[in-house]
């Protein structure tokens, strides 16, 4: 490790340590915002791990997330929670592998459309299973886990995602991804197995999203398929990641935090016009921060350095 990497690591550890202290504030409101932020940080960072370098826009987040939620909701009365988390992670990765095998050989737009349909397809499938195999009434997830626990679990998962992301960035896989992102034909000519590389990364992304869904299931208590598979989630994750910027590992993070706070302020102050004000906020963001928050920050840094010299 270079001294710069060590410095980054130390800063990251300190930041995570500080974030982990939030539940001790005892303020349920801040904790619930914390859970929301942690959830979107994990989802959009893992989304950007795959979609950032490859430029494949995946709208499948809700499918993986819902899969994890439904697995926990279905099994919670008979199987230990920890085992369900493992099953969700494996199921998410497997589904990503299947979807990847079927679609990642296709180029861009087909992939987007397919992933959009995936969440709806899985939702219908789950409803069909519930309806025809019976035994499943409304699904209750009654546990003693509080928002504090869920927050810490998500934070740990976030740390894991950042470590994986950092490792991929340094690995052959990460290098291969960057080449694929720049020109897939060139990558193939260099001897990179492009399909395999993409599928591996997509599996990481799918696994993490399924795990987030599983971790959050106890928060909802009562699970309905149309809530577990909310298509809005997929779009929110993409918007937040793009707002932050996908070129850096920490890009989505700086997108999620201001976005969540902005949403919160709008929801609190304009309870009857939330969607309308949100739309106006989007327009302003696109106009004022076209290159994402990371782009803005880097621009400012560059100016600052020039000024310093």
């Amino acid at each position: 490790m270079t001294s710069r990497e060590i410095r980054t690591l130390v800063i990251a550890v300190i930041l995570f340590g500080l974030a982990a202290l939030l539940p001790f504030s005892g303020n349920g409101y801040f904790i619930s915002i914390g859970v929301t932020i942690a959830m979107y940080v994990v989802l959009s960072t893992s989304w950007a791990l795959f979609s950032g370098p490859t430029h494949y826009i995946s709208l499948a987040t809700a499918a993986f997330y819902g899969l994890g939620t439904m697995i926990v909701a279905t099994g919670i009365e008979t199987v230990p929670y920890v085992v369900l988390l493992l099953i969700s992670a494996v199921a998410g990765a497997l589904m990503a592998a299947l979807v990847g095998l079927a679609t990642l050989r296709l180029s861009g737009v087909y992939f987007v459309i397919f992933t959009l349909g995936l969440a709806e397809m899985i939702r219908q499938l789950v409803s069909w299973l519930q309806n025809n195999l019976g035994g499943s009434r409304g699904l209750y997830v009654l546990t003693d886990l509080t928002e504090d626990h869920i927050y810490w679990e998500l934070l740990a998962l976030a740390a894991f995602v950042f470590l994986i992301g950092w490792w991929i960035g340094r690995s052959r896989l990460g290098f291969a991804m960057r080449i694929i992102g720049n020109d897939e034909t060139v990558a193939a000519h260099c001897g990179i197995n492009t399909a395999r590389s993409k599928i591996m990364l997509f599996m990481v992304s799918g696994m993490v999203a399924a795990l987030v869904g599983a971790l959050l299931a106890p928060r909802w208590t009562y699970i309905e398929p149309n809530i577990a598979f909310s298509p809005l989630l997929s779009f929110e994750v993409v918007i937040m990641a793009l707002l932050g910027g996908t070129k850096r590992l920490w890009g989505p993070l700086v997108g999620v935090v201001p976005f969540t706070i902005l949403l919160e302020v709008i929801e609190a102050n304009y309870p009857s016009q939330t969607i309308l004000v949100l739309g106006i906020a989007f327009l302003l963001i696109v106009y004022l921060v076209p290159h994402g928050v990371v782009g803005r920050l880097e621009q400012s840094f560059a100016k600052f350095r020039r000024g310093g010299n």
Partner: protein, 400 residues
Amino acid sequence: MKRRTALKLAAASLVAGSLAIGTAQAGDTVKIGAVAPKTGPLAGGSTVTHWPNIHLWVHEVNARGGLKLKDGRKKIELIEYDDQTNPGVHIKAAQRLATQDKVDFIVAPYGTGFNLASAPIYAKHGYPQIAVSAISDKIPELTKRYPGIFFTLGSTTSFASAVSDILSKMRADGKMGGRIAMVNVADAFGIELAETARPIFKKAGFEIVYDKSYPLGTQDLSPIMKGAKASKPDAFVAWSYPPDTFGLTKQAITQNLDVKAFYTAVATCFPAYGKVFGKSIEGNLGAGGVDPTTPAMKAYRKAHMEVTGKPADGWASANTYVSLQVLEQAIEGVGSVDRKAVTQYIKDNTFKTIMGDINFVDQVSHRFWTVGQWQGGEFYGVASKGMPNAKPVILKKGWK
């Protein structure tokens, strides 16, 4: 440069805005919070059943001069949020009400999922939660877990068995045979009701000659109705949601389904249902019910129309208003906004409401309508738990 200033200004005002939450002064008002869908899939139901009653109640209490407390009358200050039919947003908003706005009481949410998702927050802050639009078969477990939660609209089993009882009686009276066509929407509530109903119907000696489900949001319900019709049923039962309640009824009229009893679940009691189908739905059965003939109910429905500009529905509108009356009387009975005392007061006392005397046994009210029927342009309760004056059921005689 200008752009950056604008950005800074925007950021500053946002921060200021977020800090401003919770700085409003308490003291001369009682703050009551409400979170429920104003947008999203459940908004259609909550804007008929839920929101108008909150507005009506706050309007009436304030018109009286406010809530009667030990230190004088205090008006209600209502703080409302839209949860966008999204449980994540709902939880945040409920937390905001509890810890930022520091409201004295919160009106229970709309929908089973939302009542359960926010129950831990109510429990933590000691808010009484008089749930209305929450129907569950896990009530004993939930009331044990959350000491401040109250249920007022019954369980899935009570709804399914009420339908079975009505059909059984019609059969015993020799008015119809024992063939039932049953369909359900393939979503949580519909699946749950169908699963509960199957053994109940069988135990009552009925033959389920058609048993099909359709996905939520199905546009074309004609194949379902064709299948049901071909099975030659004596009664048609649909565990349906609002859009398919309308859709199935329309198909039944188009295909002239010949049955002695026609039941659709949610939204059959909506005023719009009567308006859309007019005379053709004479004799249709549906979930809910109301006794519109009592003076209290008449006065309530008139006020509902005058204050909110909308008619009350034939089911949970009244129950929602009743839950607020219970809250009001408990607060006034205690004479302060001591939430623990108010919760205890609700458990220990009987309340005079527009639906008569209401009390809670193990946090559950056992007085509610289960089945209603359209008769002469009005939706009447025909079966209930503990409600008087149920109208006799009439036979469905064609769609003309």
